[in-house]
């Protein structure tokens, strides 16, 4: 066979036939099943992934989850911000301007005395110390309780669907 006589299709056919025959001989020794078994045994374990199945989630848990995710942080932020601003920054502003006008000379004298004797930082710290910490503490405790309850329901309750994927699919099958 010369280069000029070389036929592309014939060449392809020759090589593919050679390849398949070689493969057939090989697979008679090492079968597909044997090879698959060998590979599967060598695989690392499946990743354990938390699967959230919306249809198996109870409605109240969904509401609770929504509240915990959006409402509670928003309330905490707004309330804390309000307390801080109203008790410290605004009061400082008031001290210097509005209250001077509203409360008259007496207050003006009083505040002037404060201004003379205290730095702004002292005033801010004084105002912070007068914040309703008891209320804040109770609110925080209630929120912690809510969070603990939420995480218990999410991960440990029997009704929870936040199981590993295998467990979740079993639950879905049973339902």
């Amino acid at each position: 066979m010369t280069k000029k006589e070389w036929n592309e299709d014939a060449f392809r056919q020759l090589l593919s036939q050679h390849s398949e025959q070689q493969m057939n001989a090989y697979e008679s020794v090492s079968t597909t099943d044997d090879f698959m078994q060998r590979v599967m045994q060598g695989l690392p374990e499946e990743k354990q992934v938390v699967v959230e199945s919306e249809h198996t989630k109870s409605s109240w848990l969904r509401v609770l989850e929504w509240c915990t995710t959006y409402i509670v942080p928003a309330v905490i932020l707004l309330y804390t911000g309000y307390l801080f601003v109203s008790r410290s920054v605004l009061s400082l502003f008031k001290t210097r301007t509005v209250e001077m006008l509203d409360q008259g000379i007496k207050d003006f004298e009083t505040h002037r005395e404060i201004m003379n004797n205290q730095s702004y930082w002292d005033m801010i710290l004084q105002n912070i110390s007068s914040m309703p910490w008891r209320h804040i503490g109770i609110t925080m405790l209630a929120l912690c309780g809510l969070a603990i309850f939420y995480f218990y329901e999410r991960y440990y309750s029997k009704d929870s669907c936040f199981y590993y994927n295998t467990e979740c699919s079993k639950i879905a099958d049973r339902k």
Partner: protein
């Protein structure tokens, strides 16, 4: 039963390492990958099994890197080729292959036994790059652009490898008395 697409299977394996999904991919492509490696190893079954296993385990571990799930076959070829290349580099088998190609007389007993043996012998005369290109192009039916992805060779380089490989094989087979009619 509707067959799950490659892309969906790849996504399942990438997401949570699903063994059943990977077993399905393995079932679909193990034949092609083993055939490819069997050709690269010149018919060494034991080595082929080892390399194919290594390639599939690497594929499993890096499935999230398979960006185009529908093109997993060429991605698997790439991994298999790298496994083979690493093996060659590690074992310094290059010298052995060169030695075997320089000693065709030793293969003379095998010649004439069957076409299989003659083709095998002719393929041993090729360089590694030529052998790789000819395996992917003619045996695995991969287009030039896919071969370029798998091997990281330029298209023009692949074409010249293919041309030279065909010339060498034609010459080797001609020396053994093969003509165009023998092929059909």
């Amino acid at each position: 039963m509707k067959q799950v697409s490659d892309k969906a299977l790849v996504e399942q394996v990438a997401a949570n390492g699903s063994h059943p999904a990977f077993a399905e991919l393995l079932r679909r492509y193990q034949h092609d990958i083993r055939r490819f490696l069997l050709s690269l190893t010149h018919g060494d079954g034991q080595l082929t099994d080892d390399l194919a296993q290594e390639a599939f385990i690497k594929a499993y571990q890096r499935m999230e890197q398979c960006e185009k799930g529908e093109q997993i076959k060429s991605w698997l070829y790439t991994i298999a080729h790298r496994c083979f290349f690493d093996y060659i580099r590690g074992k310094k088998m290059t010298e052995d292959i060169v030695e075997s190609s320089e000693a065709p007389v030793e293969r003379s007993d095998e010649r004439g036994v069957s076409t299989q043996m003659d083709v095998q012998w002719a393929m041993r005369q090729l360089s590694q790059a030529e052998h790789l290109c000819i395996t992917l192009f003619y045996m695995e039916d991969q287009p030039i652009d896919k071969i370029a992805e798998i091997t990281t060779f330029k298209s023009s380089t692949i074409k010249s490898h293919l041309r030279r490989a065909k010339e060498k094989m034609a010459s080797s087979l001609s020396q053994q008395g093969y003509g165009p009619s023998d092929i059909y």
